[in-house]
Point group: C2
Chain length 157, copies 2
Amino acid sequence: LTEEQGTAWFNYRRMSNLVDGELERQLMRDSGMPNAYYAILTMLTLQPEHRLLLKEMARRLGFSQSRLSHALARMEEAGWLLRERCETNRRSTYAVLTDAGRVAQAAAAPGHVAAVRETLLDALTDEQVRQLGAICAAVLAHLAARAQTSPGEPHPG
Amino acid sequence: LTEEQGTAWFNYRRMSNLVDGELERQLMRDSGMPNAYYAILTMLTLQPEHRLLLKEMARRLGFSQSRLSHALARMEEAGWLLRERCETNRRSTYAVLTDAGRVAQAAAAPGHVAAVRETLLDALTDEQVRQLGAICAAVLAHLAARAQTSPGEPHPG
DNA sequence: CAAGATTGACACGTCAATCTTG
DNA sequence: CAAGATTGACGTGTCAATCTTG
């Protein structure tokens, strides 16, 4: 591990801990939901029929299936969404946003977006925002490629 | 939130979830410790006398005090370190690495470093590694400045 | 048997309350 | 009272085992 790799890694860890903690606290305090729930609600908001297959949602968010399953169970209990078995392939399941879920997302969004800006984006130049996007995209592509070629491990989740 | 800001943020969240999960699993599987414990052990390894004030350690790692305290309690039970009251200022406490802790860190390090490389660094060009380091440094400086000027919130931890 | 999803036990992290020292 | 640190209760996420469907 070179000098620059080491500092990049160390700084990434520290920043990640601080940023994640800050935003988690903000959402919990102002909207009573953890970051993961907000991500799920927002993801559903952006879908055509406000519905999405669980498997696809887990993939897009980078969640394990059991993490998603636990979260959905708690959110369904809160009345923010419900689950529907897929008719064509009965092994799959849809998550469907309810009106209450849409309202909760809309109520949480402004404060959270502001916090993201104040915590992360305001610290960066436009160029750095672009760079960060490219870096994350490269890592995601890298991981997706690795997942394709190495079916080594049993199911994680 | 502009288009580029949105994708940067979304990709960051997804990448963060995947990378953190992957490395957490690797350490847990191969060395029986979570990422946070490894970070603490490594931090102590790098100190002059293998000792560091808790407050300073929390700051450097981006941990809350209670998170650090719980982790240290569990690690002390495992025999990896011990806590010593500071004599000059008896409100402060040192964490001191034990031989067992040094051994555990040394055993975990190679596999973890390899995983960091395979998961994150291999996906990036040297230029991007530099950019990532600069981006994280900028965010950390930003947050440190904000913490200075706004003593608004009570103690978080 | 594999894929998608769920469940239960357990570990980690958070908040709030508490203790001790300056 | 503030700072540093600890503790307990509780929520979230992980792993392993299980269930159902193709």
